[in-house]
Symmetry: D2
Subunit: 305 residues, 4 copies
């Protein structure tokens, strides 16, 4: 089994009421996750509002997350840049701060094809000292990581794994099947509401945004799956899927789809007392009081208060 | 549990070498499915090449399928038309021949919204005598069945279920959760490679195109899931997912994506001796000899010869 | 120059207040168009709500349109079916009633590729006695007519032209350039707000839904372009583009996007006294009184009352 | 008329055979453009391979372009970053070097809505000292600049204009109509093959990638349009559209779509002797010899050699 496995939530980036980075909040959230039993932390992913963070903020967030984690679990570092050379610069800058692995996006804004994507990961993996995961998130990059490329890079040992947020469960299973014999290759799903099925198919773990809110629930799901108790896994998944309905708390049209989901996670953590504010990076709007009440109802019903 | 559950393959439409409907082949295929243990047959679905069949051919295929089935299992009838009034005409014409349920597409070619889709199913269900399933297949209709509409129609007893080929496993789980208390509402997945996860989440059954080739395999998968033996279900699913690789046998670019999948199923059945030809409805091309050899290798490796 | 050129509006399908086909309204609308100076009429296009019409209604609409036109201008007949064999049946049924050309969709609901689309038009053109136009409307079919296919079929004399509603003006210009030497091949744009540019690039004519409302305006635009008075053409186009804003009169979310546009055209014609009702085919909703007032304001400002 | 108008080519970024920035090539290309009569230069646009340039390279390219231009024409500076705060950092860094206007992308990788996009431009315009153009390029950002937002920001004087590469000519005309009375608001099209129609509709100018190759041709097109000689404009556009066929010289599948177009422009400039190499930023591939010969044939036929 890869050293990277289990529950690795993508760390949210709390802000103060005034909109500044909330370093205490970041640390408290890291503690909440580690105490919840997670096997790793993914810093600077999409759930961490990484596209909205300046370069300086990305560094501060990573430094704070590493300091708070203190090596209790591995920290994976998101490298979200438009193309190979920019990824190399970003990786050098961020990984000099620390981190146990890099989670690298496919190119975006650029209009690439399979050949360029393959070369992209070959170059990055050659130049970066830590294991490299491919970050497959077409809803943002608008380009699906090509199956043949991933399988080839997995078998050559160039990629350490994939963080799959592609919403293509058929391709996900196909990838699992064709990399099953590779002990060191780890396939993670980013879809928090169907993780039991992903684990049943052989996924190494889950990168659940909702895991910020209920890390212990995801750890129970993972442990049930590990022990072969699939009824318990499915039952825990059902509970977490009901909890995931907090992402529908925002009034449609008032806040953007991106802000609705992350804003609900932040609001839940604020209601639970883990962080002090549900403020989002501008121009994203935070959930308002009425929306926060809906979040409270759901998390209360699922036993988190 | 709904009377509609388990493995309900979408019946392929065999043709003779000369391109005519192969009535003997249809009957032989029905027998192959029923003897494989399936719980139902879905006639005139996309896998049956329904968009390519003339109105007269649709009637002949349905009549032959019903005659061959002889009531051994229920027969669901696909109603694939552009809009409400055309669906009503098609349903009247086809259901007068027979069938135990109607599987009705959302409107296509038409540019509808959620309100029109809801009214569409209300009108159809009111005018049709058999249970009505919604057929959610956005890759063809380019319109996803809206979640709120489905849940409302489920709770009002207007829809008997959904045949989901939307490739959106998160929405699928959400639908399962919000209709779980409805004993008579049945949610089917059309994705043959991830059916174990769908069943783990509570799906009523599977409508697998690949089930034409290996109905017994899908029945084993379903039975394992029913008995709670999820390790066996996942193992059988893995085998079927490897078998599903026959859909990659066609040379990319030579035949269309649609023809590649259905053509592989027909070719497998021809190799297995169930039907006499792998001919497709024009202008779709059949797999050629080299491609058929690749199909043979896969099905042989998975124990079907 | 092809016999098919100039302004060929896609005939709307008026209904009575009770929802039945309004044969008087169809005839009145045909007269309105012919008296406006149009060079042809396109019956059973998308603007005619063809996906919503039953087979019987399609026949009645065509018969009425032909009777009303009385040969004063050519009538092009839309053949909107899912695949080749169904197009052949539909064409035989409809063209036996009459019509001077067939406007044939690319396959839809079917998942085709360039090869199948090419064979589709070859087969249809071989079996149909009138000139065949390809109907390129990817917003409905979700498949763009491939450029190389169109050019080849144009040069071989298999297609008589294209009705382009693809919203791809670069591909449109490329097609114009590569078929310019073919006197009998006619390229029409379906985009009523940018027709001056299309004509400047060499288009044979326009198939404007808005031309139902203001046929004389489009004829002026066409005549100005024909005489090389491009300033007048652009000025008329600007006026028509302002008139096109009636398609924004419907309250967003209340009626579907499809119904908003066609409903505005019907409402304008009702306000102008050409037809008696703005009723749409169910489940499409008609514009309500408040929305109709907005339509009235716009058409009044543009001098149509 | 806005000070920004006419032909403003998006400056390519030449590289040496060894892959380094070719500062002499950049200067030579700037001279080629200015001597061709262009009214401005757009540095660091998509055609300049901006997503592939590191932050340091972006600075060097801009500095070189400004030095070469020497104020002969205005220089517009592309600011291509994922979100508001990152745009502000990038703008501060680049505009401190120089530039007469900023061309700012809508957010990308971020999942925004109309409200966030509006606030994005309000914040950027408030904080940046030069006029701000919105860069509408959904093929890369996957989000169309909302019409209502643009019109509002235009009328409030917040945006100085739009560089429209959205391939939506109907929305383009609508924007022209609704901002026609704003003398200081300039709408540019990025679509080099249909610029005559855009100018006929009232566009302020063109930002043609192909204008790197044939600036004088685009200047003739613009001048013809300005003088009302639309027949000459269309004829020149036809010639340029034929020249644009060099973007089809690359063998499909060998190089990516992005590299095929820009690589053809670089190859043409190399053949013409303006720059020394057609090398692309890695991992993009340059056109090979056979492909370069096809480029040579086209540009020779159109009189550029």
């Amino acid at each position: 089994m890869s050293e990277f496995h289990g529950i690795i939530p993508p760390l949210l980036t709390p802000r103060t009421e005034r909109g500044e980075l909330d370093f205490e909040g970041i640390s408290a959230l890291v503690d909440h996750l580690v105490e919840g039993g997670v096997q790793g932390i993914f810093a600077l992913g999409s759930s961490g509002e990484v596209p909205y963070l300046t370069s300086s903020e990305r560094e501060q967030v990573l430094r704070t997350a590493l300091d708070a984690t203190q090596g209790r679990v591995p920290v994976l570092v998101g490298i979200s840049e438009q193309s190979t050379n920019r990824v190399l610069d970003e990786a050098e800058r961020l990984l000099s701060i620390g981190g146990d692995a890099a989670v690298v996006t496919t190119p975006f804004y650029a209009l690439s094809d399979a050949g360029e994507i393959e070369q992209h990961f070959r170059t990055v993996a050659e130049r970066v000292d830590v294991p490299v995961f491919a970050y497959d998130i077409p809803v943002r990059t608008h380009s699906k990581l090509p199956h043949e490329v991933t399988v080839r890079l997995a078998h050559e040992g160039i990629l350490a794994g994939v963080k799959d947020s592609s919403a293509d469960d058929v391709a996900f299973r196909r990838l699992l099947l064709q990399t099953r014999d590779l002990n060191e290759f780890a396939v993670f799903t980013g879809h928090e509401a169907v993780a039991d099925g992903a684990l049943l198919g052989g996924a190494a773990g889950i990168v659940p945004g909702l895991g910020n809110v209920d890390p212990a629930g995801y750890v129970r799901l993972y442990n049930a799956a590990q022990s072969g108790d699939w009824a318990a896994a499915a039952s825990e998944q059902d509970r977490l899927a009901r909890l995931f309905e907090i992402t529908s708390a925002a009034t449609p049209g008032r806040v953007s789809p991106g802000a609705a989901g992350l804003g609900a996670f932040k609001t839940a953590l604020q209601v639970m007392g883990v962080i002090g504010s549900n403020r989002m990076t501008e121009p994203m709007l935070a959930l308002n009081d009425a929306e926060a009440r809906r979040v409270r109802e759901v998390i209360s019903a699922e036993g988190l208060l």
